[in-house]
Amino acid sequence: MLKRLQASNWYSALQMGLLGGIIAILVSLVGMVEEFSLRDIVFNVIDMGQTILLMILVLIGNFTYRRSQSARSLNKWLEAALAGAVVGLMLWLLVLLIPALNMRAVFLNASPRLIQILTFGNEGVIALVLMLVVGGIGSLAGAVIQTLPSRYSNAIFQGIIWVALIGLLQELLQVILTTLGAHGATNWLFGDKGLSVVGAVVIFGVVLALTLYRSGNRTTLQARIKALPPASQWAIRWISFAVAIPLVWILPTILTTYPTDVANSVGLYILMGLGLNIVVGFAGLLDLGYVAFFAIGAYVMGVLTTTATGPNAGQIVWGPQFTFWEALPISVFAAVMAGVFLGIPVLNIRGDYLAIVTLGFGEIIRIMAGSDFLKPYIGGSQGIVEVGVGQIGPMFFNSPRTLFYLIFLCILLAFFISTRLRDSRIGRAWKALREDEDVAQAMGIHLVSTKLMAFATGAAMAGLSGAIFASKIGSIYPHSFKLLVSINVLALIIVGGMGSIPGVFVGGLLVFGLPELLREFSEYRLLVYGALLVVMMLTKPEGFMPEATRQQELHDAMSEGGAAPPESAPKLAKSPAKSGS
């Protein structure tokens, strides 16, 4: 009996439903649904909390449909609907159990408001029926989308994503549009919160039409550019730069203070990301202590420029009170030296071990910075205050707007250096190192200098970022330099695509810009990062903006791996260190 049940397609639909139910319950209990319900996507129609639950339903329906072995479409649809109904049923059970077991004592987010959201404000049998029906319909929709030809389903997904995105960023976009003088457009496009119904329909329609048009053309823009002769490609690249740079340049005059400040934080992370991209992306040295260089840049800037020196509390013993511009190159130089000094001991250490050792370094620096031992010199846990501010003529780099230009210029510089290094001899040496250290060495690449160069360049960018950060915040505390910063930057370059320079920018905007603008999101940022890193590695290890060679490698490795001969096993597992070489 059980065997027969297991063999039937309904059983796998049931499994999918259970999985979806568990995910939906988790999302509800961590408080996401409730917190996100404050942000409307389409004003008074749907909020983000509901959207998340709906997305789960759609995906479950979609997967059930795709996994189904049934011969007839109707059966597949019914299975998908069943899976969705199971999700609804499980949420209903949750709603029932929360008051019965007094779950709120343990699960802090199991609040009456959550119940209200999940049941749409109803009680008893009506709630159950409603939840089952909504669950079933949501999943059915997911299955129906899958039945459509792929270009239509793709276009629908794109449309939904764009509506959600524009709805979420309503505040920011409204401000920009108003400053640009498009006052009329904002009125019909947006509601008090999120999009208006008309706006949502229009955006969905436009995106749908555009995607369909583009997919009808078959060849993508990228492919068409690639087909051009090198000279035209080169010209296109420079023209796009020439357009993009002035566009970014006028950004602070359009944005209000808060988004500009967010842009600055994102910029500092991008700067660090460009540096870490060299270490991890190009040279393949997984550095989890990258924050150390950021901290060193910040602390050197702090010590050299602070005006709070003296014997009193809250002051440090010694400080030359340099100006910002004098201290900046010294900070970067200090970070480079730190990169070399921390790089030397780990020269022979590879892979996982390198990650752990660098993590240890990062922690050592942070603990030292917060200890009483170094307190007279770098402020201990009370930090350094009154850090210097840059000045050119009458312009002070202390407001978000002026800092924006400073950071933007630094990013341009780092970007230029990165691209030039990538295409240079040392860049190729890094890539060789990443692929196989032993072979690279056999090919005549000097491991010591190549590795140290990577550490030093990466450290320089982090040091620069740290120095500006110190000046931007105006004070430095050890708790700004937690391991988390390293992980954040790592997440950034992984999401963008390891080794891909445009990927750093995409990653920065996705990983920092978006959550920073959606403040409700910040509580769950790390939760989502964690899940994102796992999902990313399982499905798209090359990132959103992959570097061509890396994408190739990863897919080759994944597909060949199954048939790899036993001899390749020791190659995968390299010795962590070779002493006395």
Binding site: V30, I364, I487, I494, G530, K574
Partner: protein, 354 residues
Amino acid sequence: MLKRFRERFTTTDFFMWLIGGSIVTLVVVGSIATLSQGTYTIRHWFDFLVFGLAQGSVYALIALGYTLVYGILRMINFAHSEVFMSGAYIGFFFATAMKKSGFLDGNPLLALLIIFAVAMTISVVIAVLLERVAYRPLRKAPRLVPLITAIGASFFLQETFRTLFGSASKAYPDMNALKGTFALGGPFIIQKIQVLVIVAAALMMLALYLYVMRTKTGKAMRAVSEDKDTASLMGIDVDAIIVRTFVLGAAAAGAGGVLYCLMFRQINAYMGFVPSIKAFTAAVLGGIGNLPGAMLGSLFLGLFESIGPILFLDGLGVPAPYQLKDVIAFTMLVLVLIFRPTGILGERLATTKA
């Protein structure tokens, strides 16, 4: 002779020996200074010693998980810290409930067994899920990929626990049966809780060691860690063995989590990170992939961390040396990896294993 030496001895080596040498000098000078000042009596040192042993025992239980998994998969299970934390966390809810009903003080032994059972079960469930969802699909991927997955999984679990149960640290209920001390005569006094931790950890490690060395499954585990392909040709179900390895490591970590909580009496979602990174250090110290090595390394690290800051730094006039105990642990990790990457007992690592 000198020429050959100079050829082999590079600038890098010089640098490393310089770093190592200066640290050793610092340690020796600091120790002599502290001991000659005589601020600390034999009683203090004995306290440090016992505390270090207790701490080291907990590290050992966690380190076993790292070392077992590394031995078989050659990967650092970065999310092991969350396996440790999750068991302890869920165990905490049972402990509080039992404390409220009076069961915890009325029936301490049974209550403790229940807490252990719950914690170990939860840890095992989490570890098996991790293996299934995050690691198994990536077994053939380049090395960096599963490592990043593990970091992601670790953050995901940490944040899930934090958002589910709140960010605030919670106080672990205390057991009346574990309050107080044993007097061993003279200046030697041991806290009951420390005795429990050391004895329980020792028993657990013994059981685990015997399991790996004496049972058929243990033999299969060792075979898989030698050579997966050959093992599977010999009729060993490699996937099943890997799952069992995770189960074993997680059970030890879950038990370690409870002991850790009983000792430090505080719980939050981030509690796993520091002890686990120490445990990993200890595993490397003992020679990763080597069970007795992990135990030995852990005890060593525990002692080092408890005695070290006072012994090495107090005499040098460093204020609040205890703040720097993590620095000592990490410095030790770096030194071990530089000078003896195989660890204390890990001969096999240098040649075939890693």
